[in-house]
């Protein structure tokens, strides 16, 4: 490694800059725009909000621009229960689905990680395989399965488990089925990654010290797989909160998830400021679990170092 640092540094600096430039261009700039719109007012115009920043007006224009910003969008969100219920509904769907996903995904990931080395890639492949079909097509397939004369009712009717077809579609159950089905790989993969790395000799050590197998799972396997549990939960919980397609296609119309409410505000009401305010509030809400995850991760890193 005797390359001249002077010739090496610019290239290295650029490489280090790439992720920051990426975040700047595709996260920070759009976010600032959304943030700005959330403090604007709706008008029937193009674009459908004011104020619009006019750089040519100089200092005076800038001052005027800031003077006309308003928190009306946020006030509306706080004052109308509709939005609160929408948020709560989203959080509820995300929390319950993530719980179900964990209960389903952990045994699945554990089973794969404990399978013979040779067939593990095959099993992981099986988990990922649905991704090869378009997400939208798979959700439409669920409409087919869940509808009144669909596959699910047929299967239940044949052996007389039920007497008449059940209305699966347009219900919360349908949302849960769709969400759990769609997000399972996001739960299984990080869990598998941590469980697969788990040192088997730790379990032998636990057994050697008088710990039966079932107890070793609670005392050793589970605590050491917590980073995977946290990653899986986060990877599922956050996008589920903002999920739009699944509740829109499979769910009912009586209570909307926040993604649907946002969509309505944006496309039906053409109220960009309120839609933006919803998005910003959602982001603020989701920051909390992310910070928690960060803490868990850091603690784990310290322990495993």
């Amino acid at each position: 490694m005797s390359t001249d640092p002077k010739t090496r540094t610019p290239g290295r600096r650029f490489v280090l800059l790439v992720p920051y430039l990426w975040l700047l261009a595709f996260f920070l700039v759009p976010f600032v725009i959304v943030l700005k719109i959330s403090f604007s007012q709706t008008v029937l115009a193009q674009p459908p909000y004011v104020p619009v920043l006019d750089v040519s007006a100089g200092w005076q224009g800038l001052r005027e621009f800031f003077a006309r910003l308003t928190t009306e969008g946020y006030q509306l969100i706080v004052s109308d229960d509709l939005y609160l219920f929408s948020y709560l509904k989203s959080l509820q769907v995300a929390a319950v689905s993530t719980g179900i996903l964990l209960l389903l995904g952990y045994p699945l990931a554990y089973g794969i990680a404990r399978s013979p080395r040779g067939i593990q890639p095959l099993l992981v492949m099986a988990v990922v395989l649905p991704f090869w079909t378009s997400f939208l097509i798979r959700v439409y397939a669920w409409i087919n399965i869940l509808q009144r004369d669909g596959l699910l009712n047929e299967v239940l009717l044949r052996p007389h488990l039920i007497d008449e077809p059940l209305p699966w579609l347009a219900s919360d159950t349908a949302i849960y089925i769709g969400v759990v089905y769609s997000y399972l790989p996001f739960m299984v993969l990080p869990l598998y990654a941590t469980l697969e790395r788990l040192d088997v000799s730790l379990l032998e050590a636990a057994a050697d010290l008088g710990c039966p197998r079932w107890k070793a799972f609670w005392l050793v396997t589970l605590p050491l797989s917590l980073p995977g549990v946290a990653a899986g939960n986060l990877l599922c919980f956050i996008p589920i909160v903002g999920e739009f397609v699944i509740p829109d296609l499979l769910g009912g119309s009586d209570s909307l998830m926040i993604g649907q409410t946002l969509w309505l505000e944006f496309f039906s009401n053409r109220d960009w400021p309120v839609a933006s305010a919803i998005a910003v509030t959602l982001l603020a809400l989701l920051l909390l679990p992310m910070l928690l995850y960060e803490r868990v991760q850091r603690r784990q890193m310290e322990g495993l170092r």
């Binding site: 040192d199 050590a205 636990a206 057994a207 050697d208 039966p212 197998r213 495993l304």
Partner: protein, 369 residues
């Protein structure tokens, strides 16, 4: 058998551990093959052999991580074949230590006692005792990630000892330490074993380590016992060419034992040996010569000794000693070790020097296989 000889501690008592006709196969490969071995109470026992000889499998069979395909394992006279690992009164120190990374030092050490539902007071007392035993007082709250390799090794030792096992199993316990630390740790382990009186069974591929720490060594080769005896006996009186060659340096000279049993006819001429009733005369034998048993001189030494002339072919300088390879009349090489006792470090011999090698009749071992 060699197994019954040797003044190990408590040689008269019945064995603590007995492997009886143990066999373990992995597919076509026999890791352990019809092996019978006794380990006595209170001894420091070493399983020594090259990698893949089955020594680790034997240890894992005793811990209960593997089930034998055939044979019985007796602990204190009782068959423990059906006892799962978590109920066996033996504890193991793992090669990579297998410390729980999510628990601190204290909790790692306490792990075994907690499984017994010991009282909080007893646990904390015994943990403190163990920390003192391995000289880690004050380290109880440290995380495993904050410890050095040597400290981790001590935590692993304390964790395995806290349940006061009947047998402590040590799987290559010093493989991860650097040379200097390894040398210190060997003596600490011996001292600990003497103090506790616990039976230690160590698996190692390091012959020096086995020789230093163990009361008795079982040398293993290809799933079988090659020899079981105290270290000095294994080194001085190996029972086969394989053992002689595996432990330390040796030169093997092929020949035929004359009717009297005290002369070997070899390509290097007649060599005098001490009579060994175990070796049948008029059979083909090998004379094993340890390099430090040979004398090296510039003149032919007088007296009733074997003497061979040769030229110095190669000198391996190691600081404290030098290993000389001397080429003999039949072009074969013979190894001689000389302690570098003179100050100034001037070698007494040079490459291509003409020298005489000599040894008394009882300086070599006659091997029939």
């Amino acid at each position: 058998m060699a197994q019954n000889s040797g003044p190990g501690p408590a040689a008269d008592r019945r064995p603590l551990v007995r492997f009886e006709g143990i066999a373990k196969r992995y597919g076509e490969v026999a890791a352990v093959d019809d092996l019978t071995l006794d380990i006595r109470p209170g001894e420091f026992f070493a399983l020594l052999g090259p990698s893949g000889c089955g020594k680790t499998t034997l240890l894992r069979l005793l811990a209960g991580f593997e089930n034998p395909g055939a044979g019985r394992i007796l602990l204190d006279g009782e068959d423990i074949g059906a006892v799962p690992p978590h109920r066996r009164p033996v504890n193991m120190m793992f090669q990579n230590y297998a410390l729980f990374p999510h628990l601190n030092v204290e909790r790692n050490i306490a792990f075994g006692l907690r499984q017994e539902n010991a009282s909080r007071r007893e646990i904390s007392g015994r943990v403190a005792e163990m920390l003192a035993l391995v000289q880690l007082e004050g380290y109880g709250k440290r995380r495993i990630g904050q410890l050095s390799g040597g400290q981790r090794q001590r935590v692993a030792l304390a964790r395995a000892l806290i349940k006061r096992p009947r047998v402590l199993l040590l799987d290559e316990p010093m493989a991860a330490l650097d040379k200097k630390l390894r040398a210190e740790t060997r003596f600490e382990l011996m001292e600990l074993q003497r103090r506790l009186g616990t039976t230690f069974v160590i698996v190692t591929h390091d012959q020096e380590e086995a020789m230093i720490v163990a009361d008795r060594i079982a040398v293993m080769n290809a799933g079988r016992l090659a020899q079981v005896a105290p270290p000095a006996e294994i080194y001085e009186r190996p029972n086969s060419r394989w053992v002689a060659d595996f432990l330390g340096e040796v030169t093997l000279i092929e020949g035929r034992l004359a009717p009297g049993g005290t002369l070997i006819a070899s390509a290097l001429g007649q060599l005098k040996v001490a009579a060994d009733p175990a070796v049948a005369p008029e059979s083909s034998v090998w004379l094993a010569l340890r390099p430090e048993k040979l004398r090296i001189d510039t003149e032919r030494p007088a007296g009733e000794v074997n003497a061979l002339a040769g030229t110095v072919f190669e000198i391996g300088y190691r600081g404290d000693i030098s290993l000389y390879k001397v080429r003999l009349a039949d072009r074969s090489l013979i190894k001689v070790v000389l302690a570098n006792t003179t100050l100034g470090g001037r070698a007494p011999f040079d490459v291509n020097d003409l020298v005489w090698l000599s040894w008394p009749a009882e300086g070599g071992v006659v091997l029939s296989r």
